[in-house]
């Protein structure tokens, strides 16, 4: 029980590092993960946060990363959820700053309610992708910033289309999430086990 399980994910392609780490976290109190790229590092950090583990990262001399994860008191990682859950991440796509069609004033109220509710649910998505007018929800002045920041601190990845931010000339006003590109967005969407768009 006091031993640390080591997961060497160096050289492994996504999503292997996350899959192996999750398996290890289910049955171990302490897990040390070794990765060799920043994407894997960020994914593992988010996984750890989401599952309630304390995280310590060390950059090694050979530019690999050592991530030490320690289970916080009272945290249980259920493996049965992996069996019943979809084989892939749960993704929400926000393709507009309104929800539904026909009336934008109402649509604006709905999308804000939607995101607020997503932020309150215990079962959170793995990633939320924003494009087209959806990116307007992630910049300064957006009324859902507090909900988005709450989601980020719970380990949800927010990807915001860079082209869209550029088009609306609001790239420098990004206040939540990270700027992403079509490759990462397509990659995330195609890996999804479940994809939902309001």
């Amino acid at each position: 029980m006091g031993d640390t399980k080591v997961v060497d994910a160096r050289g492994l392609a996504c999503p292997q590092p996350v899959v192996l780490t999750k398996q290890a976290l289910e049955i171990n109190e302490k897990v040390t993960v070794l990765v060799d790229n920043e994407t894997a590092l960020e994914n593992i950090k988010r996984l750890g946060t989401k599952l309630g583990f304390a995280i310590k990262v060390e950059t090694k001399k050979d530019s690999t990363f050592e991530i030490k994860l320690k289970r916080k008191k009272g945290v249980v990682v259920s493996s049965c959820s992996a069996a019943t859950a979809a084989p892939g991440p749960f993704i929400i796509v926000i393709s507009a700053n309104t929800m539904g069609q026909g009336n934008d004033e109402l649509g604006s109220v709905l999308i804000k309610s939607f995101l607020h509710t997503v932020a309150e649910q215990p079962q959170k998505p793995d990633t939320i992708i924003f494009y087209n007018t959806g990116v307007k929800l992630t910049v300064e002045g957006s009324e859902v910033l507090d909900d988005l920041k709450q989601l980020e601190s719970a380990g949800v990845q927010l990807l915001v289309c860079g082209t869209c931010l550029n088009y609306f000339e609001i790239k420098d006003k990004l206040a939540a999430g990270t700027v992403s590109n079509m490759y990462d967005i397509l990659d995330a969407m195609s890996r999804a086990g479940r994809l939902l768009t309001p």
Binding site: L106, V109, S113
Partner: protein, 68 residues
């Protein structure tokens, strides 16, 4: 703060925004109503400010504490 209809909420929001009174439009919590609806959430301390801003402009239906 609950209102009779969504349109009232939207009107209230416009007024509160114009007067820079901090608030948030959220779905009505389930323990208050099972109907779909939105309402205004605010810090108890500024209740008077909000009531004053909406007086004679938007009719308030009910004010309930968030956590019953």
């Amino acid at each position: 703060m609950l209102f009779k209809a969504v349109s009232y909420v939207l009107k209230a929001e416009k007024i509160l925004k114009a007067e820079s009174i901090p608030h948030k439009i959220i779905p009505v919590p389930k323990h208050i109503s099972s109907d779909c609806g939105v309402c205004v959430r605010f810090e108890p301390a500024i209740q008077n400010k909000i009531e004053a801003a909406l007086l004679n402009k938007v009719q308030i239906e009910k004010i309930r504490p968030l956590n019953d």
